[in-house]
């Protein structure tokens, strides 16, 4: 009996020492208090630091579950890279492009100043295919838009240009002057020239993406042409051949028509860029309506997307909630 009690007491003593030792050893209080103190101090400093940071303050005031902020510089860099790659080799087909000029000729006659007739010049490009290259764009951010100025350099090229001169005599004059038309095909060329396209890139957030839609203030630009030197001689010769009494040469000064042609060529032919180049482009950062947690697909609901761009940042904020999830396959 005594032995049993002794044994029990010894076991109890061992367990008791073990307990006391474990309590002493497990007493994390001093270490933990010190850690907690340091933690609290750092937490306070972080709170103060967070309040000083404008981006953090803005995000904390935002109720969106997901915020995507993009620096304006990245959009500018991407735009420049897109222009450099996408608009490096643009083929411009000027075939069938037309330009016209016309005028009325009035002269003093024995019955006073009268309309003698009307002249017209038409330029029709028969075949002329050139290239355009975009230079580095200049961008500036405004509210939700990006103002863009993009230089376009038209590369020089040669082709065939059709010219048509016509003279339509006034009814009274037509008794003595006959109408005429001169058609000819001459060599011409597009000069190397630079144009500045001005427009905006409208930035917006649709269902799940940030989009950039280019809008040009003016889709047309005048394309300067030039006739080959020998072509001018041919034109002058052709007009001079009409400068006879029956063709009203006494009234129609060929230089007059030549001047009209030179002005027409100098002004250039209006080239209108198609709307198809102004398509919206999705920026590479966007939201997804489904995600995976393991192999389970979770459907999300995106709502209340807010978008704003300032001088140096694009800011998109979205309320995101879980709509449904696929059940998991039983292991």
């Amino acid at each position: 009996m005594n032995r049993a009690i002794t044994l029990a007491l010894l076991v109890a003593a061992g367990l008791g020492v073990g307990y006391v030792e474990s309590v002493i050893h497990a007493d994390e209080a001093p270490r933990r208090r010190e850690l907690q103190h340091l933690h609290d101090e750092l937490h306070g400093r972080l709170e103060a630091g967070a309040g000083r940071d404008p981006t953090v303050a803005r995000a904390l005031a935002d109720s969106g579950e997901i915020i995507i902020a993009v620096r304006a510089q990245l959009v500018e860099d991407l735009t420049t890279r897109v222009a450099a790659q996408y608009l490096q080799q643009v083929t411009l087909d000027l075939t069938s492009l037309e330009a016209q000029a016309q005028g009325t000729l009035r002269k003093h006659t024995f019955i006073g100043r009268r309309k003698i007739g009307e002249w017209a010049i038409a330029i029709v490009i028969h075949k002329l295919v050139g290239q355009i290259r975009a230079g580095p764009p200049r961008l500036s951010f405004a509210s939700n838009v990006l103002d863009v100025e993009m230089p376009l350099e038209v590369q020089p090229t040669s082709g065939q240009i059709g010219l048509r001169f016509s003279w339509d005599s006034a009814s009274m004059v037509s008794l003595v002057c006959k109408d005429f038309e001169v058609d000819m095909v001459v060599d011409g060329r597009v000069l190397r020239q630079r144009h500045l396209l001005r427009g905006q890139v409208e930035l917006a957030a649709d269902d799940d993406a940030l989009t950039a839609t280019p809008v040009l203030h003016e889709r047309s630009f005048p394309l300067k042409l030039e006739l080959a030197p020998d072509s001018w001689s041919k034109v002058e010769a052709a007009l001079a051949s009409q400068d006879s009494l029956g063709r009203c040469g006494m009234f129609l000064d060929p230089e007059n028509a030549m001047r009209g042609l030179r002005e027409l060529v100098a002004d250039g032919i209006e080239v209108r860029l198609p709307r198809s180049i102004l398509r919206p482009v999705r920026l590479p950062a966007r939201l997804e309506q489904t995600v995976k947690v393991n192999d389970r697909v979770v459907q999300l609901s995106l709502a209340g997307e807010r978008f704003h761009s300032s001088k140096n940042m694009l800011w998109s904020s979205t309320r995101v909630s879980v709509a449904s999830a696929q059940p998991q396959a039983t292991p």
């Binding site: 010894l10 061992g14 367990l15 020492v17 073990g18 474990s22 497990a26 994390e28 933990r32 850690l35 933690h39 750092l42 937490h43 400093r45 972080l46 967070a50 940071d53 981006t55 904390l60 969106g64 579950e65 997901i66 915020i67 995507i68 902020a69 993009v70 990245l74 860099d77 991407l78 890279r81 897109v82 996408y86 608009l87 643009v90 083929t91 411009l92 087909d93 290239q131 590369q155 020089p156 090229t157 209108r272 198609p274 180049i277 482009v281 920026l283 590479p284 950062a285 939201l287 997804e288 309506q289 995600v291 995976k292 947690v293 393991n294 389970r296 979770v298 909630s321 879980v322 998991q328």
Partner: protein
Amino acid sequence: MRTIPLKRVVRWVLLAWVPVLAFLAFRWNARSMVPAVSVEETVLARQTVALQTLVDAADRGALVNFAQVLVVVDQGLVRDLLRAAMPIEALIGGFRVRLESAEASFDDGLALVHLSGKATLIESSVSADLRVYGGLEVVKLDPQSGRLRCEVRVFGVEADRANLIGIDEPLRDLARALSHGGLAALLRFVEVPVRIDDHLSLPAVHSKRLRISAADVPIRAEVAEVKVFRGRLWVALSEQPEVQPESVPSAPLARP
């Protein structure tokens, strides 16, 4: 001098070992039930280290130092994503583990995830409540989907005493297995619904006047920095343009 019989000496020695063995048995048992350092303290220690980094960054004026893209994710969304995927079940270390609830708390440098559930011995009704404390880590942009992908790193596992004697040892094995990569069998990854495309596609234009070839402008984005505070995950992404070979000017179509 009085001699002590050897038999008695042996008995005293044996008796002296009794409290020692009792002490060791207690400590062994206590160690199995209470980790040497509690999960809370582990988390506190990790948070303190992370906080120091955040405070240093804040002092430099670079708390969220993003040069290009910043994605901010609310802890509530991650919690809801995890909950939507519940229950998650897997067989680990002889147990059927079923996680049924999730909490997320993104504060003071750590994206804490607290998963709760039950571990049941296979082919038995013996079970224990299980709590897994982990940290969410934004690993990378998934190369296939382009989505931000997070993994859960286990900080600690707690299992309540089983409803039958004899489950403690297997539970310790389970806790160890979960802490050392076993959680991957349960929760491999969580995606954040933000996608960064690896290219910018521009369609070809074929109009009467203009022809432009389609272009794919490569985007090489990567996770640059992740910070956690004030209930949010702050992920900075950077994009490095591909180094293009110097372009060779194309020959003009015709001599001007």
